[in-house]
């Protein structure tokens, strides 16, 4: 393991320890070695693809098939219904409610998270004592499980005895029932997500920032560019690939949000009394495993996939513009 945190490359490769003297290749041996060169690569990647076929590809294709049928757990005849499940979903107000909640929480969580992470990374990139302490410090939330985060924050956001309400009380705010309304439950859930992931993203941005040659900044300083100006014109454009990576990951994570809202709503799939914080993932589980309507749940899962593709595409085009061509 590299000792220096700055080192971007691995340790030097030790010389291979091979037994010499195997050059006498007869025809049989040559055949074996040809076979080795041609076949072994496939052998090496086969575990992944075999597992993928069973636990990745099969579920996807089967989900597509199920979504086109009236398929229930009780079995019986799964009648082909074509796109009926999809049509029903698209006119189902409770599905749209879940979509709006998911996107709402996603935006509320991701935008501040990535902006804060950028600022944090910029600060961590300065010369300062106790560098490792600060880096580990911002990563600490990673050690907690999602479930643990949800439990602690649900208590912090409690109506009567929660610390958040207690603190807000000093500013004359009356006790808020955070679960009760859309906006308050979204804020509480987004806070959990942000607390857990901001530091992680900051460390990833920091890694990107450290690959930027410092003489770029020196040159800019000599030209009289302020540090804000340097941040916008040098730092941001240079770490754009890293930003795209984090946006990609946050989009997938955000749109499939599940554990936080489930725990926030006392371990139930409904997401509050009127579904004010039910996400799509919760909706799928509720339809499929609480109401046993598999076909419907499968169709919802495919719509979620499409939503993710759209989300990734939108974010990608958006980020590509940031800090570009200045």
């Amino acid at each position: 393991m590299s000792v220096n945190l700055h080192s971007q490359r691995a340790d030097p490769v030790p010389p291979p320890r091979l037994r010499p003297g195997r050059h006498h290749a007869g025809p049989q041996r040559r055949f074996l070695s040809q076979f080795d060169i041609r076949a072994t690569p496939y052998l090496l990647i086969s575990p992944y693809f075999l597992l993928f076929a069973v636990f990745g590809l099969f579920p996807l294709v089967f989900t597509l098939w199920v979504s086109l049928h009236d398929y229930e757990l009780a079995g019986g005849d799964a009648a082909f219904t074509g796109l009926e499940n999809y049509a029903n979903l698209l006119t189902d107000a409770s599905f749209w409610n879940a979509v709006v909640n998911t996107v709402g929480i996603f935006v509320l969580a991701t935008v501040p998270q990535l902006v804060l992470a950028l600022m944090l990374a910029n600060a961590l990139n300065k010369r300062l004592r106790g560098r490792l302490f600060f880096r580990l410090g911002v990563l600490i939330p990673l050690v907690t499980s999602v479930v643990a985060v949800a439990i602690v924050f649900t208590q912090l956001f409690g109506r009567d005895f929660g610390m958040v309400n207690w603190l807000l009380g000093f500013f004359g705010v009356e006790n808020i029932n955070w679960q009760n309304a859309k906006w308050s439950s979204w804020i509480a859930i987004a806070t959990m997500v942000d607390w857990r992931w901001t530091g992680y993203n900051a460390i990833i941005y920091l890694a990107g920032m450290q690959t930027i040659p410092r003489d770029l900044y020196e040159a800019a300083s000599i030209d009289g560019a302020s540090s804000r100006r340097q941040f916008w014109s040098i730092t941001l454009p240079m770490i754009r690939p890293t930003i795209i990576f984090t946006v990609f990951v946050s989009t997938i994570g955000g749109l499939t949000l599940f554990a936080e809202p489930v725990m926030f709503g006392s371990n139930r799939m409904e997401g509050g009394s009127t579904g004010q914080f039910q996400t799509i993932a919760m909706y799928i589980v509720k339809e499929g495993f609480r109401d046993f309507d598999y076909g419907y749940a499968a169709a919802a899962a495919w719509l979620l996939f499409i939503l993710i593709l759209v989300g990734v595409a939108i974010n990608y085009t958006f980020i590509r513009r940031i800090g570009g061509n200045q």
Binding site: A10, P41, K126, V146, I151, V152, Q155, A207, M263
Partner: protein, 285 residues
Amino acid sequence: MSGGRRRSRRDPFVATPLTKVALLATVILSIFPIYWMVIIASRTNSDAVDVPPPLLPGGNLGENIQRVLATEDAHFLQGMLNSLIVTSSVTISVVLISTFAGFAFARLHFRGRNLLLGSILLTMMVPLQQMGIVPLYQLMVELGWVGTLKAVILPYLLNGFGVFLMTQYTRQAVPEELVEAARVDGASTMRIWWNVILPAVRPGMAVLALQTFMLNWNEFLWPLIVLTPENPTVQVSISFLTAAHATDYVLIFTGTALSVLPLIFVFVAFGRQIVGGLMEGAVKA
């Protein structure tokens, strides 16, 4: 952002006092919820609802731990043990499978290589957890695996991210010429893997192992669906604890605190590597 712009004209990389204060505040905010968890876990239920809230640990931790272990319907110890088994199996397999595949994609030549690697990258975008949940469950019913640990181990053995990471790492840690040289010496592919690749990519494997361990330990949705409350993973056990003993804050918090112990251990022991590894992986990605 960068605080004092006055001094930064000379050297923009000097941390101003404002930057330091902001960083310290961030670290405190990062630690506080975990600290809070320990406070509640070491107190009584009447302390937990005090206003103003208690800010120092109490003396009831031992008693609370015993209470968690004595709560039979939560099967907490079984959950911890199961999580250890599941997470270790998944971590070992993911690292091995990814190292094999990473070697092939990075340093071997075969037909369809780029296409296959591309297909892995594409599948990383698919939320398998949510998309595949219905048929995966069906599959487990057919196999008779519902309620068994096999059901929560096997679907996690495939990890596109791991293959991607090890491919990148192998490319960068093992020069092409080294593989060629070994080949000229008459080494078989597996011998090259053992003697050349394995020693060089060990740091990458360590990082992948740590990340896999942490992610898998936290897995929640699928175990919740496919396991029974009698044979849970630790996350399922805790969610059951919260559902069945909703008003017993102290019990829930103690269980939660115990459940993150292995992660804290990993973090303390390997924190340095985690930071370094995250940063390396990010740059290569």
